[in-house]
């Protein structure tokens, strides 16, 4: 078991961007089919990425490029730490660091759209980071360790002990995947509302880096959901994909809501779910 972990991790890290790209391709195809259109080919996101990489670079400062690169790098590091079964607390902090890089990058231009997108991105972080931390605390209560490897060593799936925490993570899945009704910072579907939000000031290669990092982040979050079903990781992965497809459909049938609504829903429902689950685990003596 021990000796092949680095190899499987390496394969997973190499395959992850392809899974992320195909998932966003399926998303665009599915959206088109729901709207009775034919839609782009499944591999469309890869064409977009290659094209963006070949575009001329318009940047506000060199620091902005560094931040776009950091967003990508930290997303890759977070996913790598997860597949190497490392510390969950560290992983959550690395993910938020990636988001911070994106926000600071969006503030480097003078565009008001970029600014408002950056502020909304901060609000998105404000709503989902506490839930993530509480989820990690819940996992600690059950496994008595922050290490991902201790989840894999459990004799029962984590979902049996933390069903409400899993539900709370499902609520923040649309935020992490930048989907309606919580897609307030990037406004993916209504392009002209705040132009392109946080991405407005990024163009060409920097935008390609951010898109690449986003695929990693998406796969990272789906793997986090998968962990709850360990030792049945295959079942978990299939379920995570099914949940993501449900998010795609919700994305198509729901309008985008305001940040106040997002904060209220995620905090009230998320906190009630996670804290009640943690209290239950504490009372019942940790699994």
């Amino acid at each position: 078991m021990e000796w092949f972990l680095p190899f499987t991790s390496l394969i997973l890290v190499v395959v992850a961007p392809f899974i992320g790209g195909i998932l966003s391709g399926i998303d665009r195809k599915l959206t088109a089919r729901i709207q009775n259109r034919i839609g782009p080919p499944i591999i469309q996101p890869f064409y977009d990425l290659i094209k963006l990489w070949g575009k001329e670079s318009f940047i506000a400062s060199n620091f902005q490029v560094l931040l776009a690169f950091s967003y990508m790098a930290f997303s890759v590091v977070a996913f790598s730490l997860l597949v190497l079964a490392q510390d969950l607390l560290l992983i959550v902090f690395v993910v938020s660091l990636a988001d911070v890089c994106l926000v600071v990058g969006s503030f480097s231009g003078r565009s008001p759209y970029s600014y408002i997108g950056g502020r909304r991105e901060l609000l998105q972080m404000l709503s989902c980071e506490p839930i993530l931390i509480l989820a990690v605390v819940g996992i600690y209560m059950v496994t008595k360790s922050f290490l991902v490897s201790s989840i894999l060593k459990l004799s029962f799936p984590l979902i049996a002990a933390l069903p409400a925490v899993f539900l709370a993570l499902l609520i923040i899945l649309p935020i992490e995947a930048r989907k309606s009704p919580f897609d307030i910072s990037a406004s993916h579907h209504a392009h002209q509302e705040i132009v392109r939000g946080v991405f407005t000031e990024f163009s060409g290669p920097s935008l390609a880096l951010i898109e690449f990092g986003h695929w990693f982040k998406l796969v990272f979050f789906l793997s986090l959901l998968t962990l709850f079903w360990a030792p049945n990781l295959w079942l978990g992965a299939v379920l995570a994909f099914i949940f993501y497809f449900i998010v795609m459909i919700i994305d198509n049938i729901f309008p985008r809501l305001t940040w106040k609504f997002m904060l209220k829903v995620v905090w009230i429902v998320g906190f009630i779910l996670t804290i009640s689950n943690i209290v239950a685990v504490a009372l019942l003596g940790g699994g």
Binding site: Q35, P40, K55, E56, V195, R196, S203
Partner: protein
């Protein structure tokens, strides 16, 4: 065709700018996005941001008021880029050609690659013009 040229051909992001058109051409441009024509099947996306765009789609005649805006949008679009003038007004000034505030076609302000005539240009003609522009775009090199 190299990988980059193919990717450019397959993923054109369009910035639509209304330069004072009567909205006839604009409605036809929007009609291209509907299920009947569905330009997204060619990978085309309607962008609101010149920094993300590859194709600048201009409708309406260039006039003294918005020539500066048009020029700025052209400069904000990163290379490689192409400009498509949609409708008779954008091609030559059309019925507004001798108005005191109208400069004429869009090519009086920025270089135009493809002209799509018609009043209003039909969606089929617009898609045809954009595909023609794509062939130019795929072969272009990144400058500066």
């Amino acid at each position: 065709m190299g990988v980059m040229a193919k990717a450019r051909f397959k993923s054109p992001w369009i910035l639509h700018f209304n330069c004072g058109s009567c909205n006839g051409c604009d409605i036809e441009v929007l009609a291209c996005l509907t299920p009947r024509f569905d330009v997204e099947r060619f990978g085309m996306l309607h962008m609101g941001n010149p920094k993300h765009a590859d194709i600048l789609l201009v409708t309406g005649p260039a006039n003294r008021r918005n020539a500066r805006v048009l020029k700025t949008l052209y400069e904000q679009t990163p290379n490689p880029k192409v400009v498509v003038a949609v409708g008779t007004c954008a091609c030559s000034g059309g019925m507004f050609h001798n108005c005191p505030n109208v400069l004429g076609g869009v090519d009086k302000v920025i270089p135009v690659d493809v002209y799509v005539p018609g009043c209003a240009a039909r969606p089929e003609a617009i898609i045809d013009g954009v595909v023609l522009a794509l062939q130019k775009l795929a072969e272009k090199k990144v400058e500066g």
